[in-house]
């Protein structure tokens, strides 16, 4: 039996092999989307510190998809002096030994009827290690629940619960500034800031 004969006899099987392998891989990876792609912001729009960028994405609530656009500028990252929007003025920023508190100065702009409260803020160091904005921890008694909107004029919420008016509180300004505080180990340098209103979309701003 010749070699050419083997290839000839199995030609249809050989044609089907890559298709079958691709189908098997696709069938076995049905959880990649839920458990990896949607697990954190991965589809990142890139920007640099000091420039205004328009970030467009979509959230969803009881009414369906809620597309939105927001303009964002990272002014800088600096050592923090006070907590961001604590419920009580008695809560003070007092990080333990070996821990630094940094404030992320952001300017944002959007029409006051755009719901922007459900936002996540993460900072990354030069090695890609992530530290997130925490509302409370053993070292932080309490900060504002959203790092992206003014604590005293949050603007509308997503319409998530029937019977609950999503549009409460004072009108949000057209342009505003926030300074959420993130705790990191001392000596760690912030290289990137990631903002997201729900994975997989996110805005990655390089700190310069």
């Amino acid at each position: 039996m010749t070699r050419a004969g083997w290839w000839r006899r199995n030609r249809w099987g050989l044609v089907a092999l890559p298709v079958a392998a691709a189908a098997a891989l696709a069938a076995a990876s049905y959880r990649v989307e839920a458990q990896w792609w949607l697990e954190k912001p991965r589809d990142l729009q890139h920007a640099t510190q000091g420039e205004w960028v328009t970030f467009s994405s979509s959230q969803y609530d009881r009414t369906g998809d809620v597309p939105f656009s927001v303009r964002v500028r990272l002014d800088g990252v600096r050592p923090a002096e006070e907590l961001f929007g604590p419920v009580s003025d008695d809560y003070e920023l007092d990080p333990p030994e070996g821990v630094q508190a940094i404030a992320v100065d952001l300017e944002l702009a959007a029409p006051p009827d755009v719901p922007l409260t459900s936002c996540d803020l993460v900072v990354r160091d030069t090695d890609g290690v992530e530290y997130d904005y925490q509302i409370a921890s053993p070292s932080i008694e309490n900060q504002a629940t959203s790092p992206c909107v003014p604590p005293d004029a949050r603007g509308p919420e997503l319409d998530l619960i029937e019977g609950l008016d999503p549009d409460t509180g004072p009108r949000r300004p057209d342009e505003w500034r926030v300074s959420p505080v993130v705790l990191l180990p001392e000596g760690v340098e912030v290289a990137e800031v990631v903002l997201s209103w729900g994975p997989p979309d996110g805005l990655l701003i390089t700190v310069s």
């Binding site: 821990v99 530290y131 921890s137």
Partner: protein, 213 residues
């Protein structure tokens, strides 16, 4: 198959039947052997078992998701939790002070239990077996934690602390778990079962231990 023809003895209906029967017997035998091997060997459990990273008291245990170090072990029949609530056991309360340092991203172990020498597992919860994690810990910032687990006195000697990231123990498969030998003996069990001195179960705190040498 190929174009080559092999001369065979003439096929009678009887010989065809016996060949088919032999094939069926062989097939069933092969399936039965496979099933028996699968049943006898621990293939199912071993393939999905967690990776146990072992250590002992005072020794940092490195895992995929961070570092676990047990710093102190105490015991008594009484504890006082971080809110000041006292609890009394007819067995023994084992109180473990430990430190967790997250790796890569903010996270916190949700599963903390004590496993005795016989493999019995005693889990922490929020009520009688307090464990307050304080929420996700930022990477690189040590989180000081304490747990108290109520055990029968015969489970104390040889007990290990088991720490894992997901709360559900079925989700520990193919992931690291930290298993720390608490170095406890029958003498500890006897002394603690007789002790009525309450042991404090501290709340979570960040940063290195200020009292550490």
């Amino acid at each position: 198959m190929g174009g080559r023809r092999v001369s065979r003895p003439p096929v009678t209906p009887f010989s065809r039947l016996s060949r088919q029967a032999a094939f069926a017997v062989l097939l069933v035998a092969a399936l039965a052997t496979g099933r028996a091997v699968e049943g006898l060997m621990p293939a199912e459990t071993e393939a999905s078992a967690p990776f146990e990273r072992a250590g002992s008291l005072g020794e940092p245990v490195e895992t995929r998701w961070g570092t676990v170090e047990v710093t102190a072990v105490q015991g008594s029949t009484r504890i006082v939790d971080s809110l000041g609530t006292g609890r009394i056991s007819a067995g023994v309360y084992v109180v473990v002070d430990w430190t967790y340092t997250a790796a890569g991203e903010p996270q916190i172990p949700s599963y903390v239990a004590i496993r005795d020498g016989d493999g019995r597992v005693f889990r922490t919860s929020s009520e009688r077996n307090p464990y307050d994690s304080g929420g996700e810990a930022q990477p690189g910032i040590p989180r000081r934690l304490a747990v108290a687990v109520e055990l029968p006195a015969d489970a104390v000697a040889g007990a290990h602390l088991v720490v894992a990231l997901p709360d559900n123990d079925e989700d520990h498969r193919r992931d690291d778990i930290a298993v720390v030998d608490l170095g406890l003996t029958q003498d500890d069990a006897g002394a603690w079962a007789a002790s009525e001195e309450p042991v404090e179960v501290a709340g979570p705190a960040d940063g290195p231990d200020a009292e550490a040498p």
